[in-house]
Symmetry: D2
Subunit: 148 residues, 4 copies
């Protein structure tokens, strides 16, 4: 289905995520990761919404940020942290599921630039683009094995 998916990398990313207080609560599930790209989904439930019934902007931002970081990890094969990101909200998110698609635009030795789209899906409607993001992901220096 995703010809760029790297199952070992995906398992590592999903594993870190399942061990992670916020991500576990958030319910993210990586579908594919590889070649500097990822695709992640989150089921929408009441706790992700704000007072107008839309998905809370903070949840959309958290998903976009995470997708960008995972894409940077997929590009570099190393541990990463988000250095900064910019998020533009495009439409209110009403539906059953959020889907983030992130893609590394360029990866250097210590920084990757990544873009992400967040889509909202509902059973009876076409997917809707709800946000777009541009992030700078710091690639952490590889830890050398210690000489014992």
């Amino acid at each position: 289905m995703y010809d760029w998916n790297n199952p070992a990398l995906l398992a590592r990313l999903n594993g870190n995520s399942a061990a992670d207080g916020f991500n576990k609560w958030f319910g993210v599930q990586g579908l594919a990761a590889g070649d500097g790209k990822v695709e992640i989904i989150v089921p929408i439930r009441a706790e992700l919404r704000q007072h107008h019934g839309y998905v809370h902007g903070g949840c959309i931002g958290a998903l976009a940020d995470m997708a960008c970081a995972w894409a940077g990890a997929a590009a570099s094969g190393q541990d990463v942290v988000t250095s900064n990101f910019t998020l533009h909200f495009l439409s209110p998110a009403v539906g059953d599921k959020l889907r983030a698609k992130a893609r590394t635009i360029r990866s250097g030795r210590s920084l990757a630039t990544v873009e992400a789209e967040v889509w909202c899906e509902a059973a009876d409607k076409d997917p809707k683009l709800v946000a777009t993001a541009l992030a700078s992901i710091a690639i952490l220096p590889e830890r050398r094995p210690r000489i014992s």
Copy 2:
């Protein structure tokens, strides 16, 4: 304590927030709102952390976004939505509490530019600046009363 606080506005913002799935879960509490500024705190608990034990970047982003939107509401007195925001992470957040301070730089008829700082606090340490944000907040047109 906050000579710029507007208690009625603060009560309205906290009230919306308590009715809001995500914010209720998140546990945000507005301390002051007025004159285009706000101060909001969130107690840190396990569900806000990522797999290294730091507060998850998504939670820091959600708080910064929210603080910027509330500051835009405090500047305009109207309903607002975040149009876009940029967040720079400065340090890992380890501690008991996050505190966001947002300030409207300029508010026009339909857009406000707002900046926010997110600080992390622990009982035994000086507060630490963990993120800084710059946001564009859309001010929604006031709803006119309908003629019945």
Copy 3:
């Protein structure tokens, strides 16, 4: 060549630009404009460079900003101004020509979100992506004809 080009719009944008102190100096030339998109080129000359011989980041930013604004004008058919933009530099720009390609992601009543890529071209090399941008473009209210 560009099946989305609107020659009347392009002529208007190039006309404004030729009347514009900075753009005249900068030497931008719109190649196509329409359907929320534009393509603009700038010949590289010594005055656009910085002290390492690369094109100055300020010139790359100016071109990206301009391309985003023109794309917002092409999407809305109205006068626009850039509200804010984010630019990520990807590679040093060395070559003969800069080419910006901008595309409106979403255009609302008063704001458009636009992305742009800036490419650097040289006679003997493949084009290189040197920067990517995400902008929020304010669409100005149409001026109504005055009743005399």
Copy 4:
């Protein structure tokens, strides 16, 4: 006048700038640099304007970018390049002079986060804040002396 000014650093930054095609044309002059901060002015002339008579957004962006990079150089004492920056336009710039004030928020080993304000000044008016920026500045590794 600026108790944080480092004259040797300032001379180096102004020297690089005078040797630089774009900056020479642009006419920037650093007034002070040190302690992670800079202040730079540019006289406004016809070639910096756009077709409504305001300073071109590209020039404001170029100045903000430059001020952020210089502040990163002042914080690190090393060569730097802008990695990314976000600029919010606040008001049209009409006047005699632009003044950028940049301040490093945090400087790490390889990245600095810097904020800048651009003010517009005219003989007969109060200075006006026309733009605010947030940038990520990459600190280049120090070149080691070569063994000959």
